[in-house]
């Protein structure tokens, strides 16, 4: 799905989180929102997911105005920064949650739900953990379960907030490839937030460099590295 962001702005009282920003994301791209802490990445991601309402501007999905679409109707698979797994549910129930929440007419049968959950557990390469609770998982496992839960609703796009932020370096590298693989098999337009430029460059098709609520530069990793457009981008990349 194509995503178009047109002059979106957002403030929280006195703090301006986003000055009007615009961005076009072609269907099937894996996009990194890259920038230091407080640059507005999470805010932009949450606006895409419908968790935050912009003060002005429009969001278009495949050319259709989606600015006032409810969170539920956006069908965005959202992976939260600390994963936000339902702590009182097993992994299986976590992943099944979105399917069970569907209105009766479109809700799959229990057997079909079980089949899909099993398939997703295989996709994230954790086939045997369905009966466990989130507190019994490692950080990397939690992240993958959060990804599976988001994929279960057959989302139109994937939005991930610092998906590797809470993990140690080794697991991070592994899961990076995991995300790339899942993106390539599903073909979903995906946007992930990171403050790690190496991660953004290694993983994304398109990198969006942000600073203080503005988009500084948009481009392929190689282009940004070869031709930083502003002083900020040059300094941020050399850090």
């Amino acid at each position: 799905m194509n995503i178009d962001i047109e002059d979106i702005s957002k403030d929280f009282g006195k703090t301006v989180a986003l000055h009007p920003v615009s961005l076009a994301i072609p269907s099937g791209t894996l996009v990194a929102l890259l920038g230091p802490s407080g640059s507005g990445k999470t805010t932009l991601l949450r606006i895409l997911g419908g968790l935050e309402c912009p003060n002005a501007g429009r969001v278009l999905f495949d050319g259709q105005d989606a600015t006032h679409l409810t969170v539920q109707d956006r069908r965005a698979g959202f992976v939260f920064q600390s994963y936000a797994l339902f702590r009182h549910m097993t992994v299986f129930d976590n992943i099944a949650y979105g399917l069970r929440a569907r209105p009766r007419k479109t809700r799959p049968q229990a057997a079909e739900i079980a089949r899909r959950v099993t398939k997703l557990l295989e996709l994230i390469k954790l086939p045997d953990i369905g009966a466990r609770y989130p507190s019994q998982l490692s950080g990397g496992q939690r992240q993958r379960v959060a990804l599976a839960r988001a994929l279960a609703i057959e989302p139109r796009m994937l939005l991930l907030d610092e998906p590797f932020g809470a993990l140690d370096a080794k697991v991070r590298k592994e899961l990076r490839q995991g995300l790339r693989d899942i993106h390539d098999t599903t073909g979903l337009t995906s946007v992930f937030v990171t403050h790690d430029q190496e991660e953004a460059m290694a993983l994304a098709d398109l990198v969006v460099v942000m600073s203080m609520g503005r988009i500084e530069q948009v481009g392929k990793p190689d282009d940004i590295r070869a031709r930083p457009k502003t002083d900020f981008v040059r300094e941020f990349l050399s850090a």
Binding site: Q72, A84, G98, S135, R149
Partner: protein, 291 residues
């Protein structure tokens, strides 16, 4: 004179986290002593006084119409206030922890008001608002809805007094848990109501249960505020705590202590209920690691 250098004797090995045995036992003994003096001894005394002239005599005092009416009224008041305050408490905690709005800090302070105001003052407030001194009170009585010196006043006063229990249990845990699980449920397509039932409520159920039990204990035990609004009409607006005082003042000590024992037993039942639930759901408790 030669001085011999004495090395300190090597001490027995002990892990850094364990206290010496003596300290441990001294502390346990102290706690038991305090519990005995403040809790067990008075409780036993209550039951002893109640049974001084035999169980039959004690039970007979309970079957008096006034006593029966007091028990019924107390159960009725608890049955009305506890569900209402559970709902109010959840709503207040939800509003305070899941949304940002102006005046929020102010409301958090206000939730504690019933704890900082003397119950007698609270009772007087209701008498002033709905009593015969106010136009509203006169109108209500004229139209057949008396509040002061009637059951509605008792319910209102008890609602006010017990309002903080549920909200105060819930606010810290809901703050700690944040909003992200609810947001996750919404992005997965769940409605607000479904999110509340399947995510919020299970996450707060133990704190909620605890708050409800405290609320219930206080609703049945409240004296001051109820004493002021009820008018203490025997057989009509007299709750168990008020009845106990009346019996006691009339030197009906067996009746007074029997009623007190019943009130204490009701408290035991709620505590036993809580323990039973905790035992039954121990695995879930461990998984969600909360009390």
């Amino acid at each position: 004179m030669t001085e011999t250098l004495t090395l300190p004797k090597p001490r027995a090995f002990r892990p850094a986290t364990t206290e010496p045995v003596l300290v441990k036992w001294a502390l346990i003994a102290l706690v038991l002593a305090i519990l005995t003096v403040l809790l067990f001894a008075p409780l036993i005394a209550v039951f002893e006084e109640a049974l001084r002239r035999g169980a039959a005599f004690a039970l007979a005092s309970l079957s008096e119409p006034d006593a029966q009416s007091a028990i019924r009224l107390t159960l009725l008041v608890a049955a009305m206030t506890v569900p209402l305050n559970a709902a109010f408490g959840i709503a207040a905690a939800w509003a305070v922890t899941k949304f940002d709005w102006r005046g929020k800090a102010w409301v958090i302070t206000l939730i504690d008001l019933p704890f900082s105001v003397s119950p007698v003052v609270a009772g007087l407030l209701f008498v002033l608002m709905f009593g015969s001194n106010s136009a509203l009170g006169v109108w209500l009585v004229a139209n057949g809805y008396p509040i002061v010196f009637a059951v509605p006043g008792i319910v209102l006063a008890t609602l006010f007094i017990t309002f903080p229990f549920v909200a105060r249990e819930l606010i810290p845990i809901m703050l700690e848990q944040g909003r992200s699980e609810e947001e996750a449920a919404l992005t997965l397509g769940a409605s607000g109501w479904r999110t509340f039932l399947t995510v919020t409520l299970p996450n707060i159920r133990w704190a909620l249960l605890y708050g409800v039990l405290l609320c219930n204990a206080r609703a049945m035990g409240e004296f001051g505020a109820v004493a002021v609004v009820s008018g203490k009409i025997r057989g009509q607006t007299t709750t168990m705590p008020l009845m106990i005082e009346m019996f006691y003042n009339e030197y009906l000590s067996v009746a007074a202590f029997t009623m007190a024992a019943v009130l204490a037993l009701l408290a035991f039942v709620t505590l036993a209920l809580k323990s039973a639930l905790e035992w039954r759901y121990a695995d879930q408790l461990a998984a969600t690691h909360r009390h």
